[in-house]
Symmetry: C2
Subunit: 360 residues, 2 copies
């Protein structure tokens, strides 16, 4: 089923309002979710709406949070999200980082007591309009095993970096610190296909190609896959994201991060509050004139895009290229939804009496 | 041959002085180089001394640089290294970042017109004494092909992050953004052994296990190895390092980065000055009380170190553990040097009339 962006946005906003969010927060939350669907990160878009509502049902998400700055210096700060939707707390924290960058050149904000914030790239890109480099990270439910570990101690802990250019579109890196995102495994499970080696390990810690390996007590592998291919680097990067997001802010870290799924209970012995995020903004002209920087970014992007390809027709891509292409298409042609997602959304439609949009 | 740390340090310092560096710079340069040898990053230690001297001979390194802040805000700045040794310019820039962190919570300094700065971890760790998180990056000679590219457009562009703990030693990540560092290939070449797949591609862009593949016109591969295993992520991270280090500072980026080896000439059409670095420091108590943070870091480190291992005897390591262990051993037992390195150092000894230390 393919649904028009605007109708799906209105539907999502209405559900969030019906679930208890103020209109402004519902609008922002819907924007963040839909940006994932537009950019092709389907696992982080409206597919998760029912998950957020379940967390609201269990009072693990507060729809009327009192988001507060609990500590700050001119260029740093910590925000307590009061258990609000990360979709709403995230942009507020990023905007504080941008304000600090406007004042003193850069701003760095760690967030505690939050929930899943959707796609990292959305938050990082908020900095672009102010000629800033934007950075966004978050920790997440433990699904990833460090190198040599049988246990899952880390989330897919993404890093997003958005960098403005002039005539070229911005450089937007948005990556999980695992070899493959969990969403890709779900697709293989649905198609009953094997996973490549280096993506997952089974419950005994051995490499497996069974796409159900993670469900069955195994783990996703850090970027690199195994020690010989640098999995200790992926593990290290994921750890930095965890520490900046949670140890710095006072959120839960490592295996204590509360699960996104409502049917699993958070740890009985939390080491902090909720999940953690980390945001940064650096004003370009805190380093060199913005015009100069952007024209060199155009030159950088042009040189890489025009690199001699290994295979004809497979040109070198700039981070953000595939997502932008998809966004352009999906704004025009609509957003494709899997049957399982349509069923979930129709369930919400029935429950809250909000009409589900028809096929485009 | 195994040489005592202190004698090798004195020798290195004396050579740098004989080559024209002021005593203070020679001392610092020797410290940075020796820290690599102590920590087991042998490719970035005294093995490179002859390379630096050759660059001085060619006037590509300025031994008496006038290092200047060319632009700054309270939390950001750009330093022009005046073509000095990166070993000396690096710590100066990192110290500026730390000073800014003391003033306004964080400091971020991009550097242009510099040269190779040794191991990234040394610079990041400078922040630890002031209860700051330290970050260091640098771009480097193009040896790495982006995903889908036949051409080498990026360096091994390392990222280092140093984070203080309390009773536990600090967390120190220091990683090239490639699957394997160039130094590992050199070892395989010497032993005439094949490389694992996923480390390098040949001149036509195909995966190869020939350890001479890079020399023969191929390239190192970004962390991930191939597209299916996330090489686009390693390529993205390496790009961020390149952009922050060089596009932000006004240094050369991508394929324009001047080669470390003196026998290769820099690009005839530079896009900036020298090579670029990027440093950051964030004061812990800009986020939460330092004692609180450090005790949670101890908890984080302890939990990960005690994770259930896949294989008995192969415990989960904390980034920085192997290097610290080696440093402890080598301070006591001396630094092992390859014959080729000893020959180079003896050549410098003869040329400058500085006695080369004997076996420990």
């Amino acid at each position: 089923m393919v649904v028009a962006h605007d109708s799906l946005f209105q539907f999502t906003k209405s559900i969030l309002e019906a679930a208890g969010c103020p209109e402004k927060d519902a609008r922002l939350g819907a924007q963040v979710l839909l940006s994932a669907d537009l950019r092709g990160v389907d696992s982080h878009g409206v597919a998760r709406l029912v998950g957020y509502v379940r967390l609201i049902d269990k009072n693990r998400v507060n729809t009327r949070p009192d988001v507060k700055i609990v500590h700050e210096t001119p260029s740093t700060g910590v925000i307590d999200g009061d258990a609000g939707l990360g979709l709403v707390v995230g942009p507020e924290a990023m905007n504080l980082a941008i304000d600090k960058a406007k004042q003193v050149g850069s701003g760095w904000v760690a967030v505690r007591n939050s929930n899943h914030y959707g796609i990292a790239g959305y938050h990082a890109m908020l900095a672009l309009k102010d000629d800033c480099i934007g950075i966004a990270m978050t920790n997440a439910s433990p699904l990833v095993a460090p190198t040599f570990s049988k246990e899952r101690l880390l989330g897919t802990n993404p890093i997003a970096v958005a960098i403005p250019a002039d005539k070229e579109p911005p450089f937007v890196l948005d990556m999980a610190t695992t070899t493959a995102a969990n969403g890709k495994l779900e697709i293989l499970q649905r198609k009953n296909k094997q996973a490549p080696t280096g993506w997952i390990q089974d419950a005994s810690g051995q490499s497996t190609t069974d796409p159900n390996g993670v469900k069955d007590g195994g783990a996703l592998l850090p970027l690199g896959g195994d020690r010989e291919h640098g999995s200790h680097k992926g593990y290290g990067l994921s750890s930095v994201v965890d520490i900046l997001s949670a140890v710095l802010s006072g959120a839960n870290y490592g295996p204590w991060v509360p699960p996104f799924v409502a049917f699993m209970e958070p740890a009985a012995d939390p080491v902090g509050k909720g999940i953690g995020h980390f945001f940064g903004a650096m004003r370009i002209d805190g380093f060199r004139p913005s015009g100069e920087f952007k024209s060199h970014m155009d030159n950088w992007i042009g040189r890489f895009r025009n690199a001699e390809p290994i295979m004809k027709g497979h040109d070198v891509l700039i981070p953000g290229d595939p997502e932008r292409k998809l966004e352009h298409e999906r704004r025009k042609d609509g957003i494709p939804l899997l049957d399982a997602v349509v069923n979930d959304l129709k369930g919400l439609s029935d429950r809250f009496g909000v009409e589900f949009p028809g096929e485009i």
